[in-house]
């Protein structure tokens, strides 16, 4: 199949982009890396009237540290994030997760902002920014907003971004000493979308887990924090915290949706398996010098 008819614009500035978004709203679609958008157009699953290509906008590019936060521009390609020394140093969770995002060819074009804006329930990056307590910056003619990742993901492919807003960057707190992060996922083949997965960030000392943030993806309509599980784990030594209690909490936290890759029961089971493995790894990593 080939894409239906659409208009194509390639603004050179942020302001021009925001103007176009204000003008076309729901009828417009931002074109970033195109790795998700182009297939849906070619399969005629979506038929926007206007494509706004943001690839020329310098303000959306780059990865840098500002005011103690790491700023990843919406247009940073997956491959840039994967190879960034800043990310390797300050955001080991993202560095660990990025190789699981698709394949080389897709990572060469796909963008960090595109991944967050799309909010695929099986995608790695939304879960990571949720686990890290990052915030998402969106801009529009009505003004700029900073939205906590906790509030950004609303439902299936649904975010707090309004149709006339552009995702411009994500701000992430660098990992602090005493913290560890662990990323794990299960997929049919490496590089496929996850069937179940966890992005975890926690303070771990002497086997005791504090302030754990466990973001579950692949099994729900959107990445979700395992809030009850996190509360149960808080201040306890792992693995002394009983598996059963954690599993019971996960029964409450999660409500998996089945698909061709797994039934709800399988997915819930896999998230339980991963929780155990992720926490084991967290404790082990904290111990390793």
């Amino acid at each position: 199949m080939k894409a239906p008819r659409f208009h194509y614009v390639r603004p050179e500035s942020l302001d021009a982009t925001l103007g176009l978004l204000a003008e076309y709203g729901e009828d417009a679609r931002i074109l970033a890396g195109g790795q998700s958008l182009m297939p849906t157009l070619n399969m005629r699953l979506s038929q926007p009237k206007v494509l706004i290509d943001i690839n020329r906008i310098e303000a959306l590019k780059g990865i840098a540290v500002h005011d103690g936060m790491v700023r990843i521009g919406a247009l940073a390609r997956h491959v840039e994030v994967m190879n960034s020394p800043i990310v390797a140093e300050a955001l080991p969770l993202i560095a660990e997760a990025m190789p699981h995002v698709a394949h080389v060819a897709v990572r060469n074009r796909g963008t960090f902002g595109g991944s967050i804006a799309l909010a695929d329930p099986s995608a790695e990056m939304p879960a990571c920014i949720l686990a890290l307590g990052a915030s998402v910056v969106v801009d529009g003619v009505r003004g700029r907003r900073t939205i906590a990742a906790d509030d950004f993901f609303i439902g299936l492919y649904e975010t707090a971004r309004e149709p006339d807003e552009l995702l411009v960057e994500v701000l992430l707190p660098p990992q602090k000493p005493g913290h560890v992060s662990v990323f794990m996922e299960l997929s049919r083949r490496h590089g496929d979308f996850a069937i179940a997965g966890i992005a975890c960030h926690a303070r771990v000392a002497g086997g005791v887990i504090n302030d754990a943030r466990l973001a579950y993806f692949g099994s729900e309509a959107k990445p979700v924090l395992g809030t009850r599980t996190m509360a149960i784990l808080n201040g306890k030594a792992w693995p002394t915290a009983s598996n059963e209690v954690v599993n019971a909490a996960l029964d409450e936290d999660l409500d998996p949706i089945g698909n061709t890759f797994g039934s709800p029961a399988t997915k819930l089971h896999l998230q339980k398996v991963l929780t155990r493995r992720v926490l084991d790894a967290a404790v082990q990593r904290a111990r390793a010098p």
Binding site: M1, L186, R188, R189, D192, S263, H269
Partner: protein
């Protein structure tokens, strides 16, 4: 000839061209004034078409033609070929469905052909197709094989009761019943062999070019057999074969799927005739899933009768096979391969009972092995199931029942008479390669790492190069260089390499001076083609015979030139010599002389050209032992293949490098089906696995290095001693991988896992085994 001799692992001559993008595939064909076709496919699995309105589409920009079933009918062209000659259970003739290129009043699968739109550009054609207004009345659909034959199931063809197309029986029912009556043990199992798609790298495509001036039709196509293709096409068009030319360049994979003509072929030709311009159609990947013929898909009940010592007494197999919505050429051919069910065993009595049913799904065609892997899977799973039930060692159970070399030729109780093979020896080599003796240590070590390790063996045999013929031509030109004209067509196997190697070995030629030609019916006289693991045997033998003819004639010419008797001339490594003179002649010199009648004996025709046909009524039986080792993550059901060893017997090995390529690729397809590949439909018949995101193909990461060794037992049924190698890997892999999976899970009490054994399915079978 040293590095190009038969038996050398000569790297493929094709590769530099293909890997640098120099391939010439059908989509690379660009003709002046070419227009583009687009197929509008049915969105329903089953529906009546109340009306079709093409008005808006015809008026859309750039549209040159919109063809529907009525236009097809009006053209007066015939149906696409539908196989016949089979029988139903009551002896009445098989059901022969109509098969027009475009349907008129009823669609029978999601993807069925409703309209063909031709535009100045592909996009214009696709846009216009969306403007065609069709009033569908959806009908109940049946997709699952097991449901198609259930009384009351929706009828795919109203006048085909029970959806039964035909039935087929093999073996001896009375003898088998008697064997079962005196058995000490009867092992039974039902297997569901799922549906897969060929997923060729190059999708199907066609360029149709009708020449108004001379009234001739040219089709640029993807195919396996040029002449058969042309014959089918001429029949559909209702014109003499000489008025049709079929040309195929490189073909990027077929596996049986591209073996016969398909609807788009005559559609591009009809459209070309109507608009007076060439018309190209290229399938997309999405269309490949929706429109390609698919493979496998049956439900099989098997029973094995044994005496108290484990001797096989009888085998009973009852199988329900899905034909899809139409009956496609080649589909019934799988029945010819049921003989694989006999395996390498002495089993004295067998009976096979097959029913083929229609359903609202893609039509079926041969797919790598065409019945062989399915049958091999059934018998080799049954042997493991029997070993488990009787508490016997699966290797020893096979050893006990294997046909020994001294019993050859051996007539099995299903279909075939094997001519040769050393099964026990091949198995012993494989057992050693796989270090089976220390497997339990590896299992225990894996357990400590939280993994379930299993080992599985299969010993399979299949029929290759079924009786038939193939032609080959060797043409020396006036300068002494050579063109090889092959009737067999490559879809990536490496025909060019092996045939050049063969002829260069026989005639002492430099492969750089040899041009290989295939796939153009104006240039190739024969063209029975590739399929059923036949090319090395058939075309290889034809090239061998053609080489011999060249040597005979060239020797006469050399004798004439050297003024000696032909009997005094020796030929080796491209040089004619004689003990009676110190003069020599190269074959090129002889060929140059052959082009000049003044240099030839009086009655000899000029030219050094030979045409040979290899014609046989027999077949050969490649066989081999596969041993697969897997590790399963008990918590997640994830499978890793950690070791894979093969000992094959494909007779004389012409080129070990290409042989390994065939075996490796076959294994990848076999394990792909057992572990992940799966075509699925929902209850309404909608395809759920319509892209590579949903239809999982194995990748390099899913396949370990395969260790392949050969125990060649050359066959006497052809001059080269080769046996077919194209399907062997796939045949052995399905049961070997499945047996390994079950062995790994057996500690938990699991007896069988259905394919594809996805992590989910494995995890569920663990849960079920635990629950008792």
């Amino acid at each position: 000839m040293g590095e190009f001799a038969i038996g050398q692992g000569v790297p493929r001559f094709e590769d530099p061209r293909l890997v640098r993008g120099g391939g010439r595939y059908v989509d690379d064909v660009a003709l002046p004034r070419m227009a583009y076709g687009y197929v509008l496919r049915s969105p329903h699995a089953h529906a009546r078409i109340r009306s079709i309105d093409t008005g808006k589409a015809k008026a859309a920009p750039g549209v040159l033609a919109v063809l529907t079933g009525s236009d097809w009918e009006a053209a007066g062209w015939r149906d696409l070929p539908v196989p016949g000659g089979m029988k139903r259970r009551d002896g009445s003739p098989s059901y022969k469905p109509r098969f027009p290129a475009l349907v008129k009043d009823r669609v029978r699968w999601v993807g069925d052909y409703v309209a063909f739109v031709v535009g100045e550009t592909l996009h214009q054609a696709a846009d216009a197709a969306e403007l065609i207004e069709i009033d569908y009345e959806p009908l109940p659909a049946v997709t699952a094989t097991a449901n198609a034959a259930v009384p009351g199931a929706p009828l795919v063809w109203d006048d085909c009761p029970g959806n039964v197309c035909f039935a087929r029986f093999e073996g001896d029912k009375t003898a088998t019943d008697a064997a079962f009556a005196r058995a000490d043990h009867i092992v039974k199992h039902r297997f569901v062999i799922n549906r897969v798609t060929a997923a060729t790298m190059e999708p199907r495509g066609a360029v149709g070019d009708y020449n108004v001036a001379d009234g001739r039709y040219t089709l640029y196509a993807v195919l396996q057999r040029a002449q058969g293709y042309r014959a089918e096409l001429a029949q559909v068009l209702g014109v003499p074969e000489s008025m049709v030319r079929v040309v195929a360049g490189d073909v990027g994979g077929s596996f049986g799927m591209k073996s016969a003509i398909f609807n788009e072929n005559p559609l591009t030709l009809l459209a070309s005739k109507l608009i007076g311009r060439p018309v190209k159609w290229t399938g997309t990947r999405s269309e490949a899933f929706l429109g390609d013929a698919q493979g496998r898909d049956n439900v099989t009940d098997a029973e094995l009768a044994l005496d108290k010592d484990g001797n096989f007494l009888g085998l009973r197999v009852k199988s329900l096979v899905n034909a899809g919505a139409y009956l496609q050429p080649g589909m019934p051919a799988f029945t010819g391969n049921l003989g694989t069910l006999a395996g390498v065993y002495k089993t004295p009595a067998s009976h096979v009972d097959v029913t083929v049913v229609f359903s609202n799904t893609n039509p079926m065609r041969p797919y790598r092995g065409n019945g062989r892997p399915e049958a091999a899977y059934v018998i080799e799973r049954m042997v493991d199931l029997a070993a488990d039930e009787l508490g016997l060692d699966p290797y020893e159970l096979r050893r006990l029942n294997m046909i020994p070399p001294e019993a050859m030729p051996f007539k099995t109780s299903v279909t075939f008479t094997y001519d040769c093979g050393e099964f026990e020896k091949s198995m012993d080599i494989a057992l050693k390669m796989a270090d089976v003796n220390s497997f339990e240590k590896r299992r225990a070590a894996a357990r400590k790492r939280g993994k379930l390790r299993g080992i599985g063996l299969s010993f399979t045999i299949e029929r290759a190069a079924a009786g038939g013929f193939e032609g080959a031509e060797i043409r020396f030109d006036r300068s002494g260089t050579v063109t090889l004209v092959s009737g067999s067509h490559s879809q990536g196997q490496g025909h060019e390499t092996v045939f050049k190697q063969l002829v260069c070995d026989r005639l002492g030629l430099d492969p750089n001076e040899v041009y290989y030609l295939q796939g153009d019916t104006d240039q190739v006289f024969f063209g029975e083609g590739t399929g059923g693991s036949r090319s090395a045997t058939m075309a290889g033998s034809a090239f061998h015979l053609a080489s011999e003819k060249i040597v005979v004639k060239a020797t006469q010419i050399a004798a004439h030139l050297l003024k000696l008797e032909a009997a005094d001339i020796n030929f080796a490594d491209g040089i004619f010599s004689s003990a009676k003179t110190n003069q020599t002649l190269t074959i090129q010199e002889v060929a140059r002389a052959a082009a000049d009648p003044s240099k030839l004996p009086k009655d000899m025709e000029a030219g050094l050209v030979s045409n040979a046909v290899f014609d046989t009524d027999t077949q050969n039986f490649p066989n081999g032992c596969h041993i697969c080792e897997v590790e399963i993550d008990e918590d997640t059901g994830e499978v890793e293949i950690v070791d894979y060893n093969v000992v094959d017997d494909v007779g004389t090995v012409l080129n070990p490098l290409l042989l390994h390529g065939q075996i490796d690729g076959g294994i990848a397809q076999g394990l792909g089906q057992v572990l992940m590949e799966d075509i699925r439909f929902d209850a309404d018949g909608q395809l759920l696995t319509g892209s590579f995101m949903d239809y999982a193909m194995p990748r390099a990461r899913n396949t370990p290095a395969f260790h392949v060794e050969s125990n060649p037992v050359p066959t006497k049924t052809n001059p080269l001693g080769t046996k077919g190698a194209g399907e062997a890997g796939c045949v052995g892999a399905m049961p070997a991988v499945a047996n390994a999976l079950v062995d790994a899970l057996s500690v938990l009490g699991v007896k069988h896992v259905e394919m594809p054994a996805t992590p989910e399915r494995i995890w569920r079978s663990i849960q079920e085994a635990r629950a008792g």
